[in-house]
Amino acid sequence: MTPQLSWYLALSAILFTIGVVGVIVKRNVISMFMCIELMLNAVNLSFVAFSSFFRDVSGQLFVFIVMTVAAAEAAVGLGIIIAIFRNRESLDVDDANILKL
């Protein structure tokens, strides 16, 4: 039994939903950060699945660019997390409710 396209899409939807629920429910900055990464990965999975099933390379190029954006976001986001933690001694997003550092 060969894997169907809908299986990959279902897995992608499940991963994306876990990411969204984590971002909404969690209060820890690092947990929210990893949930955002999970959402990006879910989109990557659906891109690669479509690319493979339609035999078109464009999806994989999109995945490449999305991964670059994810890496840049990781660097800047973790820098912001460290700066906020130094100022507030807390990783709770409810404590970081003003834009001023």
């Binding site: 169907q4 396209l5 990464e37 493979s52 990781a74 507030r88």
Partner: protein, 182 residues
């Protein structure tokens, strides 16, 4: 890592390799370093606000799950088949490179610009996090300016604790606000 194995299954070996290198090699290492750096304590459970909306949320979730199951089972038999990993030319590195430098050249260059901006932003974030005046300050820690450590100049040498940069600047006076330019 399991996503990378799925990519191999979908005949995308280049994307699988990049996934392993970028995520397991870079991002997860960064996250683990930050978690070690920040010695996170146990977060306390807090009471759920908006408790009255829980049944509505469950109802909407059930409706959405039913919709998803229905649509997935409906389109379950698609005419497309996954490409054979040994025979296909789509996912190999050369085709990705060709696409990246011909059709998608502009997004590629914009991505490089984005990486440059991320590097500069991360460096400026790491640099502006400290106030340099009389002493190197880590806000929230115990702070002792250099002229306070000298016991002859002051009689009270109890440590002074600040919680943010504003308090630190007030503690240090005018000297703290000027950043070192050298």
């Amino acid at each position: 890592m399991s996503l990378a194995s799925l990519y191999v299954l979908l005949a995308a070996p280049f994307i699988a390799a990049v996934q392993v290198i970028v995520y397991a090699g870079a991002i997860m290492v960064l996250v683990v370093f930050v978690i070690m750096l920040l010695n996170v304590e146990e977060e306390e459970r807090r009471s759920l606000r908006l408790r009255s909306l829980v049944p509505a949320a469950l109802l909407f979730a059930a409706i959405l799950i039913a919709e998803a199951v229905f649509s997935i089972s409906f389109v379950g038999s698609s005419p497309f088949t996954p490409q054979d990993a040994s025979a296909s030319q789509v996912g190999v590195t050369s085709s990705i490179g060709t696409g990246l430098f011909t059709i998608y050249l502009l997004p590629f260059e914009i991505t490089s610009l984005l990486l440059l901006m991320a590097i500069v932003g991360a460096m400026s974030l790491a640099r502006s996090a400290k106030i340099t005046g009389l002493a190197r300050v880590i806000p929230g820690r115990v702070v002792l300016p250099r002229h306070l450590i000298d016991a002859s100049t002051v009689e009270d040498d109890s440590p002074i604790q600040t919680h943010n940069t504003v308090e630190t600047e007030e503690l240090f006076g005018e000297h703290a606000t000027q950043h070192d330019e050298d």
